[in-house]
Symmetry: C2
Amino acid sequence: MESRNMNIYDIAKEAGVSISTVSRVLNHKGNVNPATRERVEEVLERNHYTPSAIARGMVSKSMRTVAVLTVDIRVPHYARTAYTIERELSHRGYEVTLCNTGGEAEETEKYLQTMLEKKVDGIVLVGSVFNTICKKPEIKKLLRTVPVVLANGKLEMANSYSVLVDDKYGIALAVNELLKKGHRDIYYVKDMDTVSARLKWEGFVDTLQHAGIAEAKKKVLHTTSDLEGGMRAVRELIQSGKKFSALVCGEDITAAGAVKALLQEGYRIPEDVAVTGYNNSEYARICEPTLTTIDNKPELVAMFSVQLLTSLIEKTDAYSSCTIQPELVAGKTV
Amino acid sequence: MESRNMNIYDIAKEAGVSISTVSRVLNHKGNVNPATRERVEEVLERNHYTPSAIARGMVSKSMRTVAVLTVDIRVPHYARTAYTIERELSHRGYEVTLCNTGGEAEETEKYLQTMLEKKVDGIVLVGSVFNTICKKPEIKKLLRTVPVVLANGKLEMANSYSVLVDDKYGIALAVNELLKKGHRDIYYVKDMDTVSARLKWEGFVDTLQHAGIAEAKKKVLHTTSDLEGGMRAVRELIQSGKKFSALVCGEDITAAGAVKALLQEGYRIPEDVAVTGYNNSEYARICEPTLTTIDNKPELVAMFSVQLLTSLIEKTDAYSSCTIQPELVAGKTV
DNA sequence: CTGTTAGCGCTTTCAT
DNA sequence: ATGAAAGCGCTAACAG
């Protein structure tokens, strides 16, 4: 590694000017004699001068950084959201600190504490779990001092905005599609236990009840949020001997598992059993037949989140919370 | 949002002590009278005092932050690597700034510039593209002043370490598996054009030639790095009328596409055509039949990267660059 | 055990 | 058009 970085004093001395002048040419602010400017710029260039964002932050009280808290960046849906948030913020001159909280309150609290010490300009919470986590008073207290946006969730605080996804409506789209094709024996494959997961489940039950189908509440298969979870749910359903002609899954990954298990058991899709997924992910396209799924638009969620956060940070209060409507994406499994 | 944050002076005044004493109790450093300590802690508590990491960074010249540059966090392989890096660094008290460079030199340069201004403690470059990008003098110059680890690549600099994945060997594993099963008409589905992609291709050619198979170099299908790319490669191969019994793919996603296209065209897998993927990703497991693939161990790469980076940062020069050997993971496509 | 003081590198008045 | 000086919030000698 090379010698110590030069600071603004070193540059000033070498250029034979004061630090104020250097600062002026650095920030293109105020008037500087063209000749002086040129001389300073030459010195800057020659020494590969890099201003210290820390020292600047000391004055401005901002490092132009936003914290993005997510459950687990390996989950494609979160990756898509975080990606778009990062790119958008980068264009606006902010860097993103990534925090994988595992959906745990304790980790969330630790990360938030550190982020507050680092004086982040704002925080984006990506995922419906944060609805629950933010209810905890110790977390709520931490969030009170900084602009916050909750991507897919509602936060009741003056310094926060929410971007909501109408997941209840999303699942209703899937159920209605199946009803339209004449399906009556429809089961729901439920994995997680977040606010969003609950909304999906409600969407399923309400839509079935609305269609006059009995015992909708009993038609739920609980499982884990992975490929194996989808497979297990199907095997248990088959074993139970219950009659079924369609499965609505809360995630593409469980839907892919369901399809896999059904095929292995000799069912034809969609002739014998129809399946729907959720997220419109790459998983849906890899699955053969391609999954009919629900697009819950993570990129749009990300764009709105960034828009709201920056309006909160820069106090250009022109926006407010918003809700996004999912769409059905037709595949070959219905 | 609440009132202005208190600083160490406010606390000192309220506790009736000097800022040094407050600093001492804050950092559990030096001796403080238990009674005084308690009083200060009470004031700290009552005011929800949060020390400024920026001011601390001003003194220590470090914000305990590491930049992770990757091509695109939405690519599962990078997500797995970045996830593990983030979690490991978090345990060691560092935060991670995520940068999606798109594999472009210009974006990389911009991000690096900013990261240097923010005085990051180190940089991890995730992905073989950075081999090429870091050759550019303007990029190389930027990297010269900070600890760097290249995850899957070689960087010839005093302040850097490398974690290499033996991708040539990885593909050789796949090819040998196919040769063992009697396959002779094997094609390689090549997508990208990075150092790693080239190594894979070399592994394919060398292994075939070693087995005495003619024209190995001509048995390459060029395509894009996505599901559609894998499908297209297969369709073109079929259309060409060439004889083939096995496909070695450079990525799971192209392998999944190949499988999909083959099934749609009526081929049985693996009876008519065998297929291998690369990455041991979720895609390999979703694919039906499950892909035989190569595990290139992103988590291990991440662990080593963090180990090497922290040894570089803390100057505990006990480690050096290392190479990771992939492993074959048997699926049902061979 | 505690307080005083000098930076850390920069921006920002305020003079000149 | 330029410079001098204060201050951002903290740590780390150094004194007492």
